[in-house]
Point group: C2
Chain length 226, copies 2
């Protein structure tokens, strides 16, 4: 953990990639295709950065260190805990596979507690390097309280997927959000913008800044005054 | 008309604004609210530019001349004809109001023929300043043939709305497209990206460039080699 010296912990979203039509993942998520029919296209910009290359999980290439890296590198600074949706943790639907220990191997890149929102709670899973997975069946506000208790004063990273982020936005629990618009069209999948929560008028709650990258993606920064 | 010296006429979209969630207009379009519940928010960036201010249709303010103006000003250069959907021409649904002569007064800013796609054809409407409205019940390819016959060698501007642009994209008839992403969420309305046509994979047909503006919008440029 690297908690920094913020006045109060923030809830932050980082490196969340969506297609032009707003999908954070394609359809047909599975063990072989974590992003469904989107394949790797939503994350190509990120996988090329030094930050993601140094996680050692995504193949090897000569890392980029421009604006994509500048945004990507913020993901863990000052963060004391992550909250993620169940589908980010595992590809299955319905009853979970009890042997599944996440996509990230025995030493996941988080190095903090991670709260996994699920209707199928199970015991805490301790991993190497300081990561632990805590399974919780709770509302966004309850999960946030619980996560803050694990964060040792650090910020809370909201790790996605789209449904989880939408729910936290609808409950007005998000302080900062970095969304990366990738110039592809997916047509179907899990939408960041469309859902029963109704995010109309989001722009009245946030400052919004838009930054293009030579890689072709656009970084959107949302933040609110506190 | 200002046909320029292109090798062959192009089909171009200009200044088409969408919300972050992809809507080109809100819900509830009417005479009083041409963009439905979106109000003026989708077009604020454009109305502030010199190009739109000089149309004299949109109230008076001190015009901007930065990157928004640079993009906005291209709309009529080299264009010999416009194709627009019926809902861009008039707010009604079903049988048209025969007295309606468009939103733009007796001297519309087009100064070229305009082909209006509609299931209710009527005689050509001659306006002042070189604009004429031609009502046509036709497929995108047929409408394009017809429009080219009116264009005197100029390019074809595809004027929207979202449904019309989607249909031309699905038929692979668009050469250039300037889409402006406005950082608001509408939640409902007419989507540029979502429809039965299925625009998945659009990025394989186009170069795509993204440019942010200090006004907060992002200009997306799509073009294809010919």
């Amino acid at each position: 953990m690297d908690a920094g010296d913020h006045a109060a912990p923030r809830v932050r979203v980082h490196n969340f990639s969506v297609s032009l039509d707003g999908f954070g993942t394609g359809e047909g998520q599975s063990l072989e295709a974590p992003f469904g029919h989107a394949g790797h296209r939503l994350m190509e910009w990120a996988l090329a950065t030094r930050t993601f290359q140094e996680m050692g999980l995504h193949g090897k290439q000569r890392p980029t260190v421009g604006v994509d890296e500048a945004f990507a590198s913020r993901w863990n600074t000052g963060v004391g805990v992550e909250i993620m949706g169940r589908h980010k943790f595992e590809p299955t639907r319905g009853a979970p596979d009890e042997k599944w220990r996440g996509w990230w191997g025995e030493d996941p890149p988080f190095h903090t507690p991670v709260v996994v929102l699920t209707h199928h709670p199970r015991p805490v899973m301790e991993m190497d390097g300081g990561t632990s997975f805590h399974f919780l069946d709770a509302s966004p506000a309850e999960a946030l309280d619980y996560a803050r208790g694990l964060a040792e004063g650090g910020d809370v990273r909201l790790g996605g997927g789209a449904t989880t982020i939408r729910q936290f936005l609808a409950a007005d629990l998000v302080d900062e959000m970095h969304v990366v618009v990738v110039p592809i069209l997916l047509g179907r999948g899990e939408s960041l913008w469309a859902g029963p929560e109704g995010l109309e008028g989001l722009e009245e709650r946030f400052h919004i800044e838009s930054t293009p990258s030579p890689s072709g993606v656009t970084h959107l920064s949302f933040w609110r005054d506190r």
